[in-house]
């Protein structure tokens, strides 16, 4: 399918971020979306909860609006609710490395 799009960059498939998921999360929570090209390419989408955990780990300026939107969509009201979601996915040493405790304390102060 990709070969039909003549203007695609060589690195059109954004797989550089995969290393974060292998290193830092227990597993990737994704659901099948659709396939392309007679089952050559299968596309899976992450759940909002999984996105929330990885966005809290990244926590760059570019992630701010995403974090706020996900908190709203998941109706996260308390730090404990947020921590429970993060605990589901992010490994303890990853949480320490990314200072998750500090970030959640500030987000839900």
């Amino acid at each position: 399918m990709a070969h039909k799009h003549k203007n695609l960059e060589d690195d059109w498939l954004n797989d550089e971020a995969a290393i974060y998921y292998y290193d830092d999360t227990r597993y990737a929570e994704v659901t099948f979306w659709r396939s392309f090209g007679n089952n050559i390419l299968h596309v899976y989408l992450p759940t909002l909860e999984y996105m929330f955990a990885t966005k809290i780990a990244a926590y760059r300026p570019k992630d701010m609006k995403d974090i706020q939107s996900i908190i709203h969509d998941l109706q996260i009201q308390t730090r404990e609710q947020a921590q429970a979601i993060v605990d589901t996915f992010l490994l303890p040493d990853a949480q320490e490395f990314y200072e998750v405790d500090k970030r959640l304390r500030r987000l839900f102060h």
């Binding site: 203007n7 960059e9 060589d10 690195d11 550089e16 971020a17 290393i19 974060y20 292998y22 290193d23 830092d24 990244a58 926590y59 760059r60 300026p61 570019k62 701010m64 609006k65 974090i67 706020q68 040493d93 990853a94 490395f97 970030r103 500030r106 987000l107 102060h109």
Partner: protein, 143 residues
């Protein structure tokens, strides 16, 4: 082949109402990945700042200038002169983070933000241009 997503193009898109991190994200994708052999070209042309621009548009103009100076230093490419224009300084501090109203957040941003931003009164921390292409993985604590 997609056109070069230069910083000049980024700012022009922001002026047209594009979400800044969409345009900046496309710039980063080329700067760090597909067009990294053209980094100097991606930053060389001056952005065009309207004489009458909104406060928000001015903030992002300053952010673009600071970003170019920072990236030029980080990646050892010639820094274009346009970034040193006096227009690229904010009158008041911009603490750019979630919960930026908290004193402890502001203090952390003052401590961690690169000088190319703080000199222009932008305080955005050190993770703004984290580069996924160069991530080697988190240091492991156990074998």
């Amino acid at each position: 082949m997609a056109p070069l997503q230069t910083m000049k193009r980024v700012y022009a898109e922001i002026l047209k109402g594009e979400e800044p991190w969409i345009s900046l994200g496309n710039f980063m994708h080329q700067f760090f990945g597909s067009r990294k052999h053209l980094r100097a070209e991606l930053v060389s042309d001056a952005i065009r700042v309207p004489k009458r621009c909104s406060f928000e548009q001015h903030k992002w103009a300053v952010f673009c200038a600071a970003s170019v100076e920072y990236l030029c230093k980080e990646y050892a490419i010639p820094c274009p002169n346009w970034v040193h224009g006096s227009v690229y300084i904010l009158a008041d501090p911009w603490y750019y983070d979630l919960c930026a109203d908290l004193p402890e957040v502001q203090e952390e941003l003052r401590q961690t933000t690169p000088e190319e931003f703080t000199r222009r009164n932008i305080f955005c921390g050190s993770r703004t241009f984290d580069n996924k292409y160069e991530k080697k993985g988190r240091p492991r604590t156990a074998a």
